[in-house]
């Protein structure tokens, strides 16, 4: 990896949940930590998310879901990524994820659960230390 290399992160909100304050705050914090952040905003379908990942080739993806739709949306996104043979992207999810839902999401390849109360600097550290490439 050459020194010019910046960490590229995609921050987006799949589903209909429109509460984007957290996602925007995280995007800003990652930018302030020197990363290149692609923010695609609210109302992303799983196909929107996957195609963006294919084209932008980010190192990490932060999905923000506060509506409870994570059980439906995250596995679909992870399965589609698997179909495409994409396995070197760190995918983390932020928002409200009850403990009992975490094992299934982990099985699908999701790595971090950065819920309420996670400090911004923790999130930055998490991204830096858990990159897959």
């Amino acid at each position: 990896m050459s020194e010019n290399r910046k960490i590229k992160v995609l921050v987006c909100k799949p589903g209909l949940d429109g509460h984007d304050r957290g996602a925007k705050v995280i995007a800003r914090a990652l930018r302030d930590a020197g990363m290149e952040v692609i923010y695609t905003g609210i109302h992303q379908t799983p196909d929107d998310v996957v195609n963006t990942i294919i084209q932008e080739d980010p190192d990490a993806v932060m999905l923000s879901i506060l509506s409870g739709a994570h059980n439906a949306l995250c596995p679909i996104i992870m399965d589609k990524l698997k179909e495409q043979g994409i396995d070197d992207v760190l995918v983390a999810v932020g928002g409200i994820i009850p403990d009992e839902d975490k094992p299934i999401l982990e099985e699908h390849g999701l790595k971090g659960f950065l819920g309420p109360g996670t400090e911004l600097k923790e999130i930055v550290e998490f991204v830096k230390t858990n990159l897959k490439r």
Binding site: D17, V25, S67, G68, A72
Partner: protein
């Protein structure tokens, strides 16, 4: 006074806990307030009697001595049948008004089997697609005897139409119906983001509902002009106050432009505020709101009726202030916030359940939230006299200060050309983005303490039982939707939708057409799609 001198007087005396004490609107709070702080206060002009201009002391003359605030707990989840059960439970346990939360797909005008609805059906609120769902929702509940608040915005006209037709089928005429639709699209562009159409077209629909209700549903509150969401998005208390009232005045102007007489519709506008943590700031915010509204309605819009000058509001305690860590602490927070709303003179109150930061509330948590209100009402004495804090040096000084700062915002908005131009110029969004980023930084630097979160933490596992919505709800709703589609008169549905489309291209009031569509069991998704063809949609800029 020079900057240096000012700093000297504000520098903490020896032994103070902090460098400075600032409230959530970043206003510096003094150690002590004295008569000096309110030396220009004129009782008649600035405060007045409760129930009289300028209403600072309260919307009504006897407030809670006459009638307690409405204890209105927000509810809605799963299918209409499940919510109907919860409503009956709440009515039995003493709730006095119903409040409906809708599922995200309903809010955005998508049918339960649309790709955007994936994972959302029944979550966050009740799933409504057609009139049949509305009939189920209020099954065995007499709509002429209760008041219902529907938290719906972009498709509000459609849900109102469904409510009217449901009541009609129960044998009640629309003039008996009491309740409110939130129907406040401007705050969607500013904060909550659940708009569908562009601003101007959305305003047309809102004025249509105002006009229709003024004639046919005269007891209905047509807009719940909201600050709650603006605050939840991260604004300060002053911004909540200013932006909400600015939106209110924008609606008044739009309705007056349609030719409506201000005294005909203004009495049916209501407000919806947040009750956040800083106890005194919140009380002052409500008092300032009443005074600002009364003065402007009288002086700028020449409203004559008392009811047009009187600001009524519903309050919900701040969801954003609840912690997921040590959730029982939230009971204490909600109590404090609820009390502030009562001392501020709210007309109705929703207190959050303590587990709400984790998911939709369980029955036990909902009961505690309701009991909190009942304890404030019956055991604290706060409801036994009107506006007990009036005359306090602190309260009156801060009320004045908040009014001043709100007026400064009104000027900035006017300079931009009004609320809609300001929205398009991203004015509100930038203010909120900056305020919320600043707040987050303060929390992380421990300049602001949230007990149990960034201070006094206990690292113990959280074992709150959670309410889970399973996927059966989605399947059931889709099955029902398909059944409706099969059994209704599809030719009629098509015809009514076509009629709606033509009306939307013109300028006539759309409510009658919407009611006709709803009666034939057209779905919200179908009606919204039809309107999208005429109105288009709206893309916003991303402001960080």
């Amino acid at each position: 006074m020079t900057e240096i001198d000012e700093h000297k007087t504000l520098r903490p005396k020896k032994g103070e806990r902090q460098e400075s004490f600032r409230n959530l609107s970043d206003i510096e709070i003094k150690r002590l307030y004295t008569p000096e702080d309110i030396k220009n206060l004129n009782y008649e002009m600035d405060l007045g009697e409760p129930g009289k201009f300028p209403f600072t002391r309260g919307a009504y003359s006897n407030m809670y001595r006459g009638r307690l605030w409405t204890m209105r707990q927000f509810a809605g989840f799963g299918t209409a049948a499940q919510t109907n059960e919860r409503y009956k439970f709440l009515l039995e346990h003493g709730q006095t008004g119903l409040s409906v939360a809708f599922s995200l797909h309903t809010i955005y005008g998508y049918e339960a089997d649309n790709e955007y609805a994936l994972g959302e059906v029944g979550k966050e609120g009740v799933s409504i697609d057609t009139l049949k769902d509305m009939e189920t929702l209020f099954n065995s509940i007499d709509l002429s005897k209760i008041s219902t608040s529907m938290t719906i915005n972009a498709p509000a006209s459609i849900l109102l139409a469904m409510y009217i037709v449901t009541a009609e089928k129960q044998g009640h005429s629309p003039d008996l119906l009491r309740g409110t639709i939130q129907n406040d699209i401007l705050k969607e562009y500013i904060a909550q983001k659940s708009w569908i159409f562009p601003p101007e077209e959305s305003m047309r629909l809102i004025v249509d509902t105002i006009e229709y209700c003024t004639k046919h549903v005269p007891q209905w509150y047509t807009i719940s002009i909201s600050g709650y969401h603006i605050r939840e998005a991260g604004s300060t208390a002053v911004q909540e106050l200013a932006f909400t009232l600015a939106d209110g005045f924008a609606y008044v102007e739009a309705a007056m432009e349609r030719g409506l007489n201000v005294d005909d519709f203004a009495p049916r506008l209501s407000f919806f505020f947040n009750a956040h943590n800083n106890f005194f700031e919140e009380i002052c915010k409500y008092r300032a709101a009443r005074r600002i509204w009364a003065k402007r309605m009288k002086n700028k819009y020449s409203a004559k009726k008392l009811e047009s000058l009187r600001l009524r509001f519903h309050t919900q305690t701040a969801g954003v202030s609840l912690s997921a860590q040590e959730p029982e602490n939230n009971i204490a927070r909600v109590t404090m916030q609820g009390l502030a709303a009562v001392l501020g003179g709210t007309q109705s109150l929703h207190t959050n359940s303590f587990d709400e930061a984790l998911c939709l509330p369980t029955e036990k948590a909902v009961k505690i939230a309701l009991r909190t209100q009942q304890i404030i009402a019956q055991e604290s004495g706060a409801a036994d006299t009107v506006d007990p804090l009036a005359g306090s040096y602190y309260i009156e000084a801060l009320t004045n200060r908040m009014e001043e700062e709100a007026e400064a915002y009104f000027e900035k908005i006017a300079e931009l050309g009004g609320v809609i131009p300001a929205i398009k110029a991203n004015f509100f969004q930038k203010e909120i983005a900056n305020a919320s980023y600043k707040y987050q930084q303060e929390i992380e630097k421990n300049e602001r303490i949230v007990v149990g979160v960034n201070d006094f933490q206990l690292r113990e596992a959280c074992s709150t039982p959670l309410l889970k919505i399973d996927d059966q709800v989605s399947k059931d709703q889709i099955d029902l939707l398909n059944k409706i589609r099969k059994n209704r008169d599809n030719e009629m549905v098509k015809a009514k939708l076509e009629k709606l489309k033509i009306a939307a291209q013109g300028s006539e009031n759309l409510m009658p057409c919407i009611i006709d569509c709803v009666r034939e069991y057209a779905s919200i998704g179908e009606i919204i799609s039809t309107l999208k063809e005429v109105f288009g949609t709206y893309d916003e800029d991303s402001i960080f």
